[in-house]
Amino acid sequence: MVTFQFVPYYEIEDLGSARRVKKLIDIVKQNKIVLLQGRLRKEEEADLISIAMEEIGKKFKGIELAVINPEERGQEGLRKLRNNFFNIVLGDRQGLTIVGPASVVKDIKKDPSKIELLTKESRKKK
């Protein structure tokens, strides 16, 4: 069974970078797949990878990460300007960030309008 946990943006918006990343890693380490509303800052994405590496051990093998931002492409002129403004003021709430434990998620393939989440087959117990 695969468990998803939705994290609305308001749950991380007042947190500092380190606590944002820790919150996501803590959920992933419970073998859950995080669906975060919006996206982390670029530097936080890199921090997420660094922290995941620090946490690697017997059970935790790292993460699979995908950021889906459907409006990234095809934004022009005023619309782009408006969205950039709202991103600065309200934080980056657009799109979706998926973070899963590498022991559960094999790969996340994304397409502007489609997400394929390939999970590892769990071994059947006799």
Partner: protein, 210 residues
Amino acid sequence: MIGVLKRIVNKLLGNLFRKKKDVRLGLYGPPNGGKTTLANRICKDWLGEDMGTVSNVAHETREIQIKEQISIKSKGKELSFNLVDTPGIATKIDYEEFMKSGMKEKAAKQRAKEATKGIIDSIKWLDDMDAVVIVLDATKDPYTQVNITIVGNLQARDIPVLIVGNKSDLKKADIKKVQAAYPQYDVIGISAKYGKNMEKLYEALFKIAK
């Protein structure tokens, strides 16, 4: 916000006191893209010696390697830089994957441990780069989250970027796909292994490592 300001101040001060010849050119990218093969090609072309060992098993480079004072010449101009070859950035490491390549468990675990440290170091070193060449395997999907994260972080740090689609000698290589994934950057198709299109790469380095 404070972190961003700190980085800008550090960069400004660093640039003020660092000599021109100390330009740091980083090679970044996912594992097995050919960073060390490219580093070796550059070093062979201009210094007559290799920089590091290469292998088909991922995470062969697990420590930052620096070759200082490489001078390249192109069209009558000269450019000096310190070349920084970095461990490939990945989001997961599983020692069992190394064992599939015939490695013993103990060695595989050690490699995994060193690889994780290497990735952390690569990310830490992002702040210290003056220009970066992102080395992608042109036979693979260029639009992976790791690649996007590397590009995004360099963009956020205002570091000039050149993207290289390596392994262009292979049939499956698709340089146009790499260009389509990163239209805002110069993308050059090369074969570091066979030295194909290196002249074009050297010319492009002058643009990013001023």
